[in-house]
């Protein structure tokens, strides 16, 4: 039986084996830019340009699904822009009243605020007043936010459905309450607050979790198969398993249960070393885990991960985008990917993907190699 790309991904997320291992990587913004060479500012701000880019990348690289990492694009994004300066090919400066943004093909936009943003002091935060009930921004990276237009929160999903005919597995993305907390307080002060003022942190996390849960629940009404929870700072590189259990798990679990109640899949994306907390992540109730970075970025052994959690969660991973795709020679790149396919296809639910996003300078030949190898080595025998 031949599966459609969407059926293939859905089967894996349901812990079943389709005709072959599904392939679905997430691209870093820089990788999207490098492959598509769009107007960088338009690509970031214009929802339709972004959506068409996602579809184009799926087609070029024969992926079975599309991750929508940004949503809530405003059709009026230019209304607050004072000027867009074309600096050189692939570099644009977008000037707003309060900031200047440098958009380029190389990576995420860099934001230069006129007035430096000072992180909030936890002692001065009134969670009722200061933490939004409605989540209207995505904390993308340090100092970089994506505003969610409340009138157009999920337009991108409708547009994608329209242009792809629902043939591919489309996944939305939300950000963990833990990330919102660290962003609010600043990473350093946020981490210190976990031990200096744990109770206040929990009140803040609860408020964020409620708002993010609302957002996720509403997103479930779109034509999507799953939601990814981006939780990059919840690994061993930052916090202990005890802190994970106290400050991450309950809040992600609350969101996950709301998504699952709507009949959609949900998976957690945590970067770096997570080997010591795989079972805790499973206890979140999520349908799957993404990343599982191998060394040196992380410490997960894929076979061991399947043995420990593979009966109840699908795994999406875990090709090292830097050391296997970017820096390795052809022989090593191919052998690394084949080993992962071989290990993954023995598990119950497996989606071949890079662990973290595809790094910007990974060549198109290397990305194309993935579909070639998965078609050759990822076939499930009936």
């Amino acid at each position: 039986m031949i599966y459609t790309p969407r059926e293939r991904v859905l089967a894996a997320m349901n812990l079943q084996k389709p005709d072959r291992v599904p392939l679905m990587c997430q691209f870093s913004i820089g990788a999207m830019m490098q492959q598509l060479k769009p107007s960088p500012a338009e690509f970031w701000y214009d929802g339709e340009v972004f959506a068409r880019g996602l579809v184009e990348l799926r087609e070029r690289f024969n992926f079975d699904g599309i991750l929508v990492s940004l949503h809530g694009h405003s059709p009026d994004w230019k209304k607050d822009v004072l000027e867009i300066r074309d600096l050189e090919a692939g570099r644009q400066e977008v000037v707003f009243r309060d900031r200047t943004e440098l958009h380029s093909w190389s990576d995420l936009p860099m934001v230069y605020q006129l007035e430096k943003r000072v992180p909030a002091d936890i002692s001065e935060i009134n969670p009722e007043k200061d933490i939004p009930s409605v989540i209207d921004y995505i904390p993308v990276s340090a100092g970089l936010y994506f505003k969610i237009d409340q009138e157009h929160k999920f337009d991108i999903f409708s547009y994608l459905s329209e242009i792809t005919g629902g043939k591919y597995s489309v996944h939305g993305e939300i950000t963990s309450p833990f990330d919102y907390l660290l962003d609010l307080l600043g990473y350093e002060q946020g981490l210190i607050s976990l031990i200096m003022d744990p109770d206040k942190c929990k009140v803040i996390l609860e408020k964020f979790a409620a708002g993010i849960g609302d957002l996720a629940e509403e997103m479930c009404g779109c034509d999507i198969d799953a939601i990814k929870i981006s939780s990059p700072f919840a690994g061993m590189g930052f916090i202990s398993p005890e802190h994970y259990e106290e400050f991450v798990l309950p809040y992600e679990r609350a969101i996950i249960s709301r998504i699952r109640a709507k009949g959609k899949h949900v998976y957690i994306h945590t970067c770096g070393h997570i080997d010591d907390r795989l079972e805790l992540m499973r206890d979140s109730g999520a349908s799957g885990l993404e990343c599982l970075d191998p060394a040196p970025v992380g410490n997960v052994d894929l076979k061991n991960a399947f043995e420990r959690i593979g009966k109840s969660m699908f795994i999406k991973g875990n090709i090292d985008s830097v050391y296997s795709l970017l820096y390795a020679d052809d022989a090593k790149a191919e052998s690394d990917v084949l080993n992962i396919i071989e290990t993954g296809r023995r598990g119950d639910g497996f989606i071949l993907s890079t662990a973290c996003s595809i790094a910007p300078m990974v060549t198109k030949e290397r990305i194309l190699m993935l579909s070639r190898l998965v078609s050759r080595a990822g076939i499930y025998l009936p």
């Binding site: 870093s28 820089g30 190389s106 990576d107 995420l108 860099m110 990276s141 340090a142 100092g143 970089l144 990473y187 350093e188 981490l191 210190i192 976990l194 031990i195 200096m196 061993m236 590189g237 930052f238 916090i239 202990s240 802190h243 970067c271 770096g272 070393h273 010591d276 060394a295 040196p296 970025v297 985008s321 830097v322 050391y323 970017l326 820096y327 973290c356 996003s357 790094a359 910007p360 300078m361």
Partner: protein, 220 residues
Amino acid sequence: MEEFTDKISLTVQKGKVDINSPYPPDMKGQPGADELTREALDAGVPANDILNNALIPAMAIVGGLFREKKLFVPQVLMSARAMSRAMVHLKPYFTSGEIKERGTFVVGTVAGDLHDIGKNLASMMIEGSGWRVVDLGVDVKSEKFIDAAREYPGCIVGMSALLTTTMESMEKAVKEMKTLLPAQRIIVGGAPLNAEFAARIGADLYAQTPQAAVSYLNSL
């Protein structure tokens, strides 16, 4: 004397900054690194002894526990804060020359990367081991690293990157610096790096943990 240095060392290891700090709960109401260092200096303990017999060994213990994943970033940050508080009292002794700094460490997060937690953590541990730290901040372009290396002759340069995307900036910065200042020693660190990458771009050391950087610096 030893009693003082042992107590100061313990406050740093446990992250007890001052008497008002609620952390750690089992030391609530007890004096922290702040009060004990002041008290020790008032009692005639040489500043050099406080640095070498209390602060530096304490941060080495903390670094070791961090490497072994027995301590995590929040606890290490608290230890670093306790150490910094103690260092405030020792500053005048550095200025007067009674305590000699081991050298100067110039550090920054490479261009395009705004993450500073790894850099800050390493800086605090390096400062705690007796080095002067010149922090260039985040999103540091190659030229700024080079200017700083020229401004502080004999310094060691540290470059940090958290993102796979900014490893390329690091490569550029290391190569440009080595072209203009071939003898300049450079340490690199950050989650996506490894020793092979560090060697490939021409860095002198890949520091997997802050303690690895401290050990390297102190071996020079």
